[in-house]
């Protein structure tokens, strides 16, 4: 008897297609359309070809914002990934301590981005903030509204405070999935603490680390709300990252054409780096078995 193939299940994914269509594909199409035209509002468009792309690619403003963004993301990944692994390794695996640690780790993730920005903006102020006041009392010169270095330190520490928990929770989940037999075998072989990490824990965390690196790269590369609330992109343009610059261009100046070209270049960079991360880490995962 010939088996009948039922294709009706495809209708179940139709809502997802519609959702992605309305939330991603149609806006992306619109951005592509805007990137080759000039507009003064009221639905009037004038063809300019690749002019906006050439302008953005050669603009000092874009280069500076991209440089700041790459530096910020590199610092964030260099701090949050090792720190997240270290904290996850230090957390208890069972008992009441594990529950308390998990709740504490989850707390920063529950706070909305703009609230995190507001908390840190107040926290770092010299007159009313605990951090700013304490540093001033210790004789440390710290003013994130006037010093570019202080503004960078504040934004980085804030991001580390907000997002390291995500890396911790992902790594912790990876660690918890390792069967006890692996550790027992390592103990019998007399493996050192480093050998256990290098040959058991790290390979087993590979997949979750891939997710952590990808999420943290994409999030930090597209960061907007927190630095905008704390520093507004300043002092000067010291913390004007790509998304802050893009919003200034698109909404502040209503340069929708250049902003659309900017967005597409920005999107392609995110896509390329994410693909490279994904490919390198999955290839390494495949080799590790």
């Amino acid at each position: 008897m010939q088996r009948k193939t039922n294709q009706k299940a495809w209708f179940l994914v139709l809502p997802v297609f519609l959702l992605v269509g309305f939330s991603a594909i149609i806006p992306l199409m619109t951005v592509v359309n805007y990137s080759v035209q000039d507009s003064f509002g009221s639905g009037e468009f004038y063809w300019v070809g690749t002019e906006w792309f050439i302008e953005i690619l050669n603009s000092e403003r874009f280069h500076s914002a991209l440089g700041r963004q790459l530096l910020f993301t590199s610092i964030i990944l260099a701090i949050e990934i090792p720190l997240g692994i270290l904290i996850a390794l230090s957390m208890p695996k069972k008992g009441w301590g594990a529950s308390i640690c998990l709740v504490l780790m989850a707390l920063p993730l529950l706070i909305p981005w703009n609230v995190v920005g507001t908390i840190w903006q107040i926290f770092a102020r010299e007159d009313i903030g605990l951090l700013g006041h304490t540093l001033a009392a210790m004789g440390v010169e710290y003013n994130y509204t006037q010093s570019a270095f202080d503004a960078w330190v504040t934004v980085i520490v804030m991001d580390v405070w907000h997002w390291t928990s995500l890396v911790v929770l992902l790594c912790y989940a990876g660690l918890c999935s390792i069967p006890e037999a692996f550790y027992q075998a390592a103990k019998i072989d007399g493996a050192t603490r480093w050998a256990v990490f290098r040959y058991i824990q790290f390979p087993k965390m590979n997949r979750v680390l891939l997710i952590a690196v990808l999420l943290r790269f994409m999030d930090s590369f597209m960061i907007y709300t927190e630095p905008f609330v704390v520093t507004g992109g300043g002092p000067g343009n010291a913390t004007t990252f790509l998304s802050i610059d893009l919003v200034k261009m698109a909404i502040g100046q209503f340069d929708v054409g250049p902003a659309a070209a900017f967005s597409l270049i920005y999107f392609l960079i995110v896509l390329l780096v994410s693909w490279v991360f994904y490919t390198v880490m999955t290839a390494r995962d495949g080799e590790a078995g």
Binding site: S39, T50, F53, I54, L268
Partner: protein, 93 residues
Amino acid sequence: MDLSWMGWTPFTATFFVVIASLIVSMLVWEKLVPGGAPRDGILGFETTRGDRLFVSLLGSAFIHIGWLFFIGDMLWWALILSFFYALAVFRWV
């Protein structure tokens, strides 16, 4: 339905029709020759037909961006270069 807010032009519409056609062609290809033809290419990792199309499209986008940055207008040459790049990707990657 008024879609004037999307600012469509014949060129951008052609661009999306080409992308959609490529995706549909890949679906037809998969239907005719199932399995995605996975292989280890010169990049040293396994790729399927879909991966090779993605690498071709992403690379082509950067070829165009690089062309605009280093040379300027006249994107036809970048398009021709991208075509040969895509052929190379499908042959060796």
